[in-house]
């Protein structure tokens, strides 16, 4: 049957089982939007394309399905780029569709023309410019396939407006066959044997697991191996929740703001088993001094480029983490590492995660209470900076896909739209964005999207009136010369003349706004927020402005040169 490009778009998305689209229309996507008018796909109109991309990202992280967003050409496509780069760094399956000026105008600097495939090439897993309508269905099929398989990632499809109007026979490819793209899933049996041998010979092993474990859904296998061979587990920011945070073998997050015990475990381990992690600089600290006592490094990853990129792995295993860990589980022998685990416990007791216990309202306290009242069962998203690290340290999710954070790119403004996407994907879950006052303002306009679509998310602003992480660095390393970090009118004191008044902003949008100054107000405010239905709630927690994120491994220092308080 003949279909127009716009009809092919809708039909293909239905076949890909797409339920929700996030985006904004514009001149050169009108044919598609006309077909979306009565299509059985929910369309969420956002207020900025960056918001749309992050919502699709939050949707994808919460479910494991590909998130989908749509934008027009030129500024629409350009506004998507931060969201695409963010998904690319964190390996999140996303498919972005952009309109493009008519084929005959491409290259002529037409109105709202930008080279969308050109500008997104380094920040997508792959991208396509549709040149003929007969290729369109196949390209959509391939785009979803590429986004989901192997190491997942964002894929952009750029569609000139004349292609949306042109028609052809609709043929849906039953199978995807790309001769140049064959991800490896099965780990090499010899390598898995070598890994088992290294585990058998190790006295101080540690699992270092990253987002790849979440992407592969390898949680069960990971837990069973850890228990069978008695191996402590540290997770990256991307993998928080991939291993139960209350498990006796869980030693918390590693890296710059990781736990004392996790960083010391890495530095003293004789074996590191990296699974779906990429030895990024925030995790390794100073490379030359990283993990000096290791005899073996096992690195399991679906992406060969991650292996031996920064840290050489002598036992690389390329493939899917789930199937490799399942194979490994079969051949490893039960072991006990009592001495090693006791040592790690001692490190933990020496410097547990803590903060001052006085009457002031500390941001860490707010996160602890959020964890307490939701029992760690809520989906938490974070913005970026201090709020993100406090959330990572003090929110202990019970399950995977319940801690969504911008890891690689560190995108301020991510958390709120991601929370909207996650809530739309999982309407029965409580979704809370742990935010900073700086980050929240980067996509605050999406309050409109949340209100209009009746999206019940809670934004918990840890409001310190500063770009907190930058001011922490200035406090620690730049002699308290606070340069361009104050988010209030000077010379006022912080909080005396706040810009903006978040409660009023929330109310202006039709959301609920609450403000908290004191410790004892925290739980009541959270309880009140959790009772609200069908609309977003913004809680402005006015916290101690000079609170710091500790522990901290200063940039360029080794993991065991960790500082635990202001010297």
């Amino acid at each position: 049957m003949e279909k127009s490009g716009a009809e092919i778009f809708v039909e293909s998305l239905i076949r890909e089982n797409v339920k929700v689209l996030f985006g904004i229309p514009g001149g050169v996507v009108l044919p598609i939007f006309d077909k979306l008018y009565d299509a059985p796909i929910k369309f969420v109109l956002t207020r900025h394309e960056q918001g749309a991309a992050h919502m699709a990202d939050g949707y994808a992280r919460a479910t494991g399905k590909a998130g989908v967003c749509v934008a027009t050409s030129g500024p629409g496509a350009a506004n998507l780029t931060t969201g695409l780069a963010n998904a690319h760094m964190d390996s999140i399956p996303l498919v972005a569709f952009t309109g493009q000026v008519a084929t005959h105008l491409i290259g002529n600097d037409a109105f709202q023309e930008t080279d969308a495939t050109g500008i997104t090439r380094p920040i997508t897993k792959h991208n396509f410019l549709v040149k003929e309508v007969k290729d369109f269905a196949r390209i959509i099929r391939e785009a979803f396939y590429i986004a989901r398989t192997g190491r997942p990632g964002p894929v952009l499809v750029d569609i000139p407006v004349d292609i949306q109007r042109a028609s052809c026979e609709f043929i849906w490819p039953e199978k995807v066959e790309i001769r140049s793209y064959k991800p490896v899933y099965q780990g090499h049996p010899k390598q898995i044997e070598r890994a088992a041998e290294a585990i058998a010979n190790s006295e101080r092993p540690v699992f270092y697991v990253g987002g790849g474990v979440v992407a592969a859904g390898a949680y069960e296998e990971l837990q069973r191996i850890a228990e069978k061979a008695d191996i402590p587990v540290t997770t990256t920011l991307m993998a928080i929740g991939a291993f139960p945070t209350d498990h006796r073998l869980s030693i918390g997050m590693l890296g710059m703001h990781g736990t004392y015990q996790a960083n010391h475990a890495m530095q003293n381990a004789d074996l590191i088993i990296a699974v779906g992690a990429r030895f990024d600089d925030r995790c390794t600290g100073k490379l030359a001094a990283f993990a000096p006592k290791t005899k073996n490094i096992i690195h399991i990853d679906v992406d060969p480029t991650s292996i031996s990129k920064t840290v050489t792995a002598n036992i690389p295993v390329v493939g899917d983490a789930k199937s490799i860990l399942a194979e490994l589980l079969k051949i490893i022998k039960p072991k006990k590492h009592t001495l090693w685990l006791t040592q790690i416990k001692e490190w933990e007791e020496k410097h547990p995660l803590d903060y001052p216990q006085d009457d002031k309202l500390y941001p860490q306290y707010v996160v602890e209470k959020i964890c307490e009242i939701t029992k760690g069962e809520a989906i938490v998203t974070t913005e970026v900076g201090q709020n993100q690290m406090w959330a990572a340290q003090f929110y202990k999710p019970k399950k995977p896909r319940h801690f969504l954070s911008s890891g690689g790119l560190g995108t301020m403004g991510y958390g709120f739209p991601a929370a909207i996407g996650a809530k739309i994907a999982c309407p029965n879950e409580i979704v809370i964005d742990i935010a900073g006052d700086g980050s929240f303002q980067m996509n605050i306009q999406e309050l409109a999207t949340a209100v209009i679509n009746k999206v019940n998310v809670i934004v918990a602003i840890l409001n310190n009136s500063h770009l907190g992480m930058v001011s922490q660095w200035q406090r620690l390393f730049y002699k308290r010369r606070y340069s361009a970090v104050q988010l209030y009118t000077q010379p006022c004191k912080p909080f005396t003349c706040p810009v903006p008044d978040f409660v009023k902003v929330a109310e202006a949008y039709g959301a609920v706004g609450l403000r908290v100054f004191k410790k004892e107000e925290v739980l009541p405010a959270l309880k009140k927020a959790l009772k609200v239905k069908n609309k977003p709630v913004v809680i402005d927690f006015v916290v101690e402005p000079e609170a710091n994120v500790f522990p901290m491994v200063p940039a360029g220092a080794a993991l065991d040169e960790i500082i635990t308080s202001l010297a």
């Binding site: 495939t117 050109g118 090439r121 380094p122 897993k125 792959h126 410019l129 590429i146 790309i178 001769r179 140049s180 793209y181 992406d303 060969p304 480029t305 031996s308 990129k309 050489t312």
Partner: protein
């Protein structure tokens, strides 16, 4: 620093060259030369890339190339018996007094004079890197006015 010749089979589609050159610039890899052309299969192009770096960089170059969706196959020739050829056109200052001396050199290298003017000649030479370098060394004293090279192409010996 090592020098390695890498052969990359890619889909013959627009944008593929940009993907490859983007990869090299974004990751800070250095390209010595790059030659592109169709293969016996018109849907496939072959890029021959000469790259420099230490072992870790060269390993990353190969892996990153393989990761690009449009790359069909990456092979490198350091462990393989193979031929390498580069073609250079060299414009050299030449007049009556030294033209015959230049001709002699060109003969020894089995190169060709492809253009003559009162003040210059253009020499065409095909060969591997060493041969072309050797000729250039001999020509330099006469004054090289201009040079253009195609970049190295390579092929494994034998039936494989």
């Amino acid at each position: 620093m090592m020098r390695r010749t890498i052969s990359v089979l890619v889909e013959n589609k627009p944008g593929v060259l940009a993907r490859i050159s983007n990869l090299f610039s974004a990751r800070g890899f250095n390209i010595d030369s790059l030659a592109v052309g169709e293969t016996e299969d018109t849907t496939v192009s072959r890029m021959t890339i000469v790259v420099r770096g230490d072992e870790r960089i060269l390993e990353q170059v190969e892996k990153q190339l393989n990761k690009l969706i449009d790359v069909i196959k990456v092979s490198e020739y350091s462990q393989v018996e193979h031929l390498e050829r580069d073609l250079a056109l060299v414009k050299v200052k030449a007049d009556k007094s030294n033209r015959s001396e230049i001709l002699q050199i060109v003969d020894i290298f089995r190169a060709k004079i492809v253009d003559v003017s009162p003040n210059s000649v253009i020499i065409e030479i095909t060969g591997d890197e060493d041969k072309i370098q050797a000729l250039l060394n001999m020509l330099r004293p006469f004054g090289i006015k201009e040079m253009v090279r195609t970049g190295i192409v390579a092929m494994a010996r034998g039936s494989k």
